[in-house]
Symmetry: C2
Subunit: 139 residues, 2 copies
């Protein structure tokens, strides 16, 4: 539990304890909150799609098959609210809106890369583990 001990809170509102020695000042969002945001269903897809540079709403829609217009908008708003994306609208006609990553989001990409690497390296292991588990546990 080394890496959460320096002021990260395990659960958002958890009192200080073995897992939540929160040194946060009041009002700061916890690491948990941040991870919740990152772990939401479409955030990573959007962040990845925006990695190469500013990207338009419709381009995002095309780049992320399966996402609904509603969820795209919602997730973009959240990302923007957290200061990870910047929304720039050009008052042309038809309207044109671009989303670009902030420096903070660029840093996040590096962090996500570590996870990606781990995930790809262990994809097979996890699949195998699941298969084994499911076979042992017919229920």
């Amino acid at each position: 539990m080394d890496f959460l001990s320096a002021g990260a809170s395990c659960a958002g509102s958890a009192p200080a304890g073995a897992c939540a020695p929160s040194a946060d000042a009041a009002g700061l969002c916890s690491v948990e909150d941040v991870l919740d945001r990152i772990g939401s269903k479409w955030s990573v897809c959007i962040l990845v799609a925006a990695a190469s540079g500013p990207i338009r709403f419709s381009a995002l829609e095309r780049a992320i098959p399966g996402i609904s217009r509603r969820m795209l908008t919602l997730t973009l708003r959240n990302l923007e609210r957290d200061g990870l994306l910047v929304r720039t609208s050009y008052p042309t006609v038809p309207p044109r809106v671009e989303y670009s990553m902030t420096p903070m989001a660029v840093e996040l990409q590096a962090a996500l890369l570590t996870l990606t690497t781990w995930a790809r390296r262990h994809q097979a292991d996890i699949a195998a583990a699941r298969a084994r588990y499911d076979e042992r546990t017919p229920g």
Copy 2:
């Protein structure tokens, strides 16, 4: 949902690469699956609590304030199914069960460290961004 379904992309039914502009043919959206797992509300807490060595059910319960017995069990089962935790039960009385991390999970800790480091470093920035956004957008 299936971790290994070949060509699985962001939404699980999307063509490979559609969501992954970066240069990974395997589909970066395996990250989605990983984050879904580790991004679930309690997984990280449990992983962190188990980092120091084998830990008992009751110890986990105490270490993670706010977690319900139900969610602790459920999350442990998922982690075990994915091959991240190993469950060892000693047929003593009263019963004693220990959970320990697999090597794969140990590697994951390193990946999580990168993320949590980022999260901690930008906690204040994110909180500030949110405050700013909420002020600019009252309704």
